[in-house]
Amino acid sequence: MEQAQAIAETGNGAAGAASAQTAAHAIHTRDLNLWYGDFQALYDINLDIKQGIITSLIGPSGCGKTTFLRSINRINERLGYVRIQGAVEVYGHDIFAPGVEIAQVRKQIGMVFQRPNPLPISIRDNVLFGFNLHGEVRRRLHRSEQDEIVEGALRQVLLWDAVKDHLDRKATELSLEEQQKLCIARLLPVKPRVLLMDEPCSALDPKGTEAVEELIWGLAGEYTILIVTHNMAQARRASDECIFMLMGKVVEHGDTADTFVTPVHKETADYIEGRYG
């Protein structure tokens, strides 16, 4: 419980980072191994993901990108046959420590999925959903306060102008692009510190992809963003650092520009070239 509290407090920003050394690293993993039953999907993942930047995660299908993402917000554990070893610290706090409240972990670490998954309620209610989950039961917000939250979140994802006149429309009636933007927007009122995005543009057309990329750019700095992508061009233009994974292992992690121009490992070069263009 204390641990959860600690994460919650840092989440409020006021308490700030736990220490100077962890301040630079939003996500720190040490010898992270993960098994689905007998199948090992992650091998000794040691990563330090910097705070406030966009890090892209690339690699061929099945190399464990989704698995890695899903272990950081502990959503993998829902499957009874998943076994995890090693440590993951988020802003200096061990997410597997005893007493950590899973709900708090997920509140701090938002996730965007491959397929947009808005809830079948109004746009407005979608944005407020997460916020209401964590709000005090007794204190109901005034309508005007709610409106502010909704507008703020929707503006941040560049969706406000398109939907401001019909906030009561069902979210599931929006276009895929708008749905995905909404799925990002509804994370924001909860004030997460990390946003995990699993191929957030793969269901979108090129125009939608561009729009969503643009908004992700806008979120960097305020949030630490870890984004899985199959699109090399996207990784290259839209991320500061880049991690290349292969068969459950991290092969390379470095500055995106360097990785793409002068990859250290041959596998990285092969993958980048094979997929590029």
Partner: protein, 289 residues
């Protein structure tokens, strides 16, 4: 260039043949239902009157109406529903949303499905043993309704579980990822999206209890009791048993009477089903996905 080839013609013929065959099979299925309904309406229709529905049986059940039986059936079904729906829905929520998905849960699920297949006469005997004798409710509406409830529990659980599992995983994941607890997820997203399925499924399944005879025969339904029950500890007449009695047990019953009773019984089941279907359509219209 676009004219049909020999092969086209053959394929088309084969298709028509299959189509006609399947249509015939459907007809064979529907025909008995239509015949039963037509017979009931033709033979039982003349028996139906205000007096028939709202007066007591007279002259050793060879005349008069069916009011006590009608009221008794409503009592039995209502009490049974009141018990089995909350219990069954809660159990289904636990089994599908909370219980760890391990061998033990799987065995329980299997047992529930098997329970649905237990013959109603066995439930009747269980009801006598448990409710009439052990709990000392005597032969009463309570004992009979509880027996019906036990009998319908498995179908209520199965119908509820199916509705719960029809709610897409994506909705739940969306919730979990905003830090919702399991209960928050269930109560804010899963249930609102499953409730129409649960209600209609449950009503459809439970409406069948209206016609059950065996489970209530030994536990609370009386042969002839020409006054209304005052509490759940009274015995009562019931339509299903009354139908059995007037068609086989008493001499001198006018021909149209058993048909009339059957017609009312079927009418009740159909009415419940229609309500459930109308309700489903109403909720679907409101449904957001």
């Amino acid at each position: 260039m676009f004219a049909a080839t020999h092969l086209n013609v053959q394929n088309m013929r084969r298709q028509s043949l299959v189509q006609i065959l399947f249509m015939l099979m459907t007809a064979i299925l529907i025909l008995p239902v239509l015949i039963i309904l037509a017979t009931l309406i033709y033979k039982g229709g003349p028996a139906i009157s205000f007096e028939f529905l709202f007066s007591d049986p007279r002259d050793g059940m060879t005349a008069g109406g069916i009011f006590p039986a009608l009221v008794g059936t409503v009592w039995l079904v209502a009490v049974a529903l009141l018990v089995s729906v909350p219990l069954g829905v809660a159990a289904a929520i636990y089994l599908s949303e909370f219980a760890p998905q391990n061998w033990f849960t799987r065995i329980i699920n299997l047992a529930i499905i098997n329970l649905a297949g237990v013959p109603s006469i066995v439930h009747a005997l269980f009801g006598v043993g448990a409710f009439v004798l052990f709990f000392g409710f005597g032969t009463s509406i309570l004992a009979a309704a509880l027996t019906l409830a036990i009998m319908t529990l498995p179908v209520v659980i199965v119908a509820t579980r199916e509705s719960l599992q029809a709610v897409p995983l994506a909705f739940r994941e969306a919730c979990w990822n905003m830090g919702a607890t399991r209960w928050q997820t269930i109560h804010r997203v899963v249930l609102p999206n499953a409730v129409s399925g649960i209600l209609t499924g449950v009503i459809l399944e439970v409406s069948r209890t209206t016609g059950e005879t065996a489970p209530i025969m030994f536990t609370g339904a009386a042969f002839f009791l020409p006054f209304l029950p005052e509490s759940v500890f009274d015995q009562t007449m019931a339509l299903s048993l009354h139908l059995f009695v007037v068609s086989t047990q008493v001499p001198g019953v006018p021909d149209e009477m058993p048909y009339g009773v059957a017609l009312v019984l079927i009418g009740m089941v159909l009415a419940m089903n229609s309500v459930s279907i109308a309700f489903r359509m109403y909720l679907r219209g409101k449904k957001k996905w």
